[in-house]
Amino acid sequence: MNQSNGAPAIAVEIPSLQVSRTRKLKIRLWRERYLFLLLMPGLLYFILFRYIPMLGNIIAFQDFSPFRGFLQSNWIGFQHFKTIFSDQEVIRVLWNTLLLSFLQIGFAFPVPIILAIMLNEIKNERYKRIVQSIIYLPHFLSWVVVIGIVTIFLKTEGIVNRLLDSLLGIDPISFLQQPGWFMPLIILEVIWKEAGWGTIILLAALSGINPSLYEAAVVDGANRWRQIWHITLPALRSTIVILFILRLGTVLDSGFEQIFLMLNPFTMDVGNVLDTYVYFKGIQQADFSFGTAVGLFKSLIGLILILVANRMAKKFGEEGVF
């Protein structure tokens, strides 16, 4: 916190030795009344729409029946959680989820970083601006639209196959029907849609670099690569670390809509992830308790990962999120 107290100087001067703690608190609260005014709407929102519904997670320990309600449904303890670990299908789904996440971290996560560095190297501001504007664009499309486009492009009679055929003489590939193509396609879609947008945060961090640093490096005879290595990357480091920690926290999230729309009988084996599984079971088959249990389990793993990553980051001298 590099910010000073809410109310400096004047307030501190109140002779306070004799004042009781409650009185002190009252004075403080009064002094901060406008801050509370600012805080209240948001705080109320969090309590009402985030925390009260969270209590509903107790149905993870019940055999929930809507006609009995949250308190009268039968309590069954950890049974749903046991199912998570014993069910063959859940294990396969978990594996798919983790595999996809790690592939994403390996392939999709670095792309915005590389793009940001490339953009940072461009000196012509106008060209840079145009490129930026274009690569942000796909972010504005919803997944429905993106998958719609992908399907049209990748059909066996689609534009991609026609190009492959006419340029390289390759026979049509049924991209959407081969399990092997599922994960690569998901990752490519994520890159296409989000990589450009992901550079925003990184470019902002880069804009804070003092140009004199580069000038000094040039004087010292450092070439382009050394400049990137010694100036650009260090400036990005803390941002990358934070993004990485947050990404780990969502390692069991796969982006429901995208996967859901890409699934078909061929890709079910490799593509069914926790999010879609919970939807099929928890909502469509109306097994709310089980769905909630899986959700809780997911959150718990996320929490552990985020704590571990944060600890690691601090060990390596980074600030971390907390």
């Binding site: 000073s4 809410g6 600012l38 948001g42 519904p53 486009i149 907390f322």
Partner: protein, 295 residues
């Protein structure tokens, strides 16, 4: 900025420019393709889907869509929800973020409450129950209030506030301004670029709202454009969703166009946010906004 005169440096520069240019074209291509196809006649499209420049530019697809009252109405609805929603988002996010920037009583608790929601969230049913209990069912507010604050955005905006030099606050305090005035007169104006950026983040979310509309709004005339778009694109259900247009097509002996309508619908539904985008982009191009993620 940093003058590099060596040959290898020049070469790297040129490579970089070309590579980025190619990438940008790759990103742009689907948009271009959708654009041309949406102006292609269905007959031509059926003959060859590989069309970079149609023989004949036709506006059939657009005429079809614009005849559908439901589609146009839903765009109006979505503009309304997006505008009001983003405004509410920004106000609630910024005020709360600012309050916990300052050394307010209980600051750590509030911060924890926010961070906790990164990880743990409520299920669909309890949330539905709260929306119902607060009387929001079937009201546009049901699309706005339940997602009023995004925790991640709140934390980033808070970081931004933290980077504002504290001397400004102190000077204002000495002038007799209260915290509210400091926020509205000093902090908020300084944060315009950040507000613009996050306003856009939120706006995109509202624009693409889909399932909440189905879940919370019982009256179909309140549905957002993505719901209609989904019917057109995913279900390719033009005969149903745009029935009267399809009938006209049949009378004139043409096939009711499938994909070309889908493309036109996507472009029309994306257009408003694309128009908004350059105005806001100007702001975050300045780059100020997030010099601060690092805190």
């Amino acid at each position: 900025m940093y003058n590099q005169k060596s040959m290898s440096g020049r070469l790297a520069d040129i490579m970089n420019i070309i590579l980025l240019g190619l990438l940008a074209l790759l990103m742009l291509f689907p948009f271009y393709y959708m654009f041309t196809i949406s102006f292609t006649s269905y007959e031509e499209y059926k003959l060859s889907e590989l069309i970079f420049w149609p023989d004949r530019w036709v506006t059939d697809a657009y005429t079809y869509i614009l005849k559908s009252k439901a589609f146009i109405h839903s765009i109006g609805v979505t503009i309304y929800v997006t505008a009001v929603g983003s405004l509410v988002n920004i106000i609630l996010t910024a005020t709360m973020a600012y309050a916990i920037t300052r050394n307010i009583w209980g600051q750590k608790v509030y911060l924890f409450l926010v961070l906790f929601t990164f990880i743990f969230s409520a299920g669909m049913i309890p949330t539905y129950l709260i929306v119902k209990a607060t009387g929001l069912i079937n009201s546009y507010w049901a699309l706005i209030i339940p997602g009023a604050i995004n925790s991640f955005n709140l934390i980033v905006i808070r970081q931004f506030f933290l980077s504002i030099p504290s001397e400004l606050n102190e000077a204002a305090l000495i002038d007799g301004a209260n915290d509210l005035q400091i926020f509205t007169r000093i902090v908020a104006p300084l944060s315009k670029p950040a507000f613009a950026a996050f306003g856009l983040f939120y706006a995109v979310g509202h624009w693409n709202t889909y399932f909440d509309a189905i879940l919370y709004l019982n009256d179909p005339s309140k549905w957002t454009v993505q719901v209609i778009l989904r019917q057109i694109v995913i279900l390719n259900d033009t005969t149903n969703s745009l029935a009267s247009a399809a009938r006209d097509a049949a009378r004139s002996g043409h096939l009711p166009p499938g994909e070309t309508i889908g493309m036109a619908a996507i472009l029309l539904a994306t257009l408003p946010i694309l128009i908004l985008y350059p105005f806001l982009q100007k702001h975050f191009a300045k780059g100020v906004m997030l010099g601060s993620v690092k805190g």
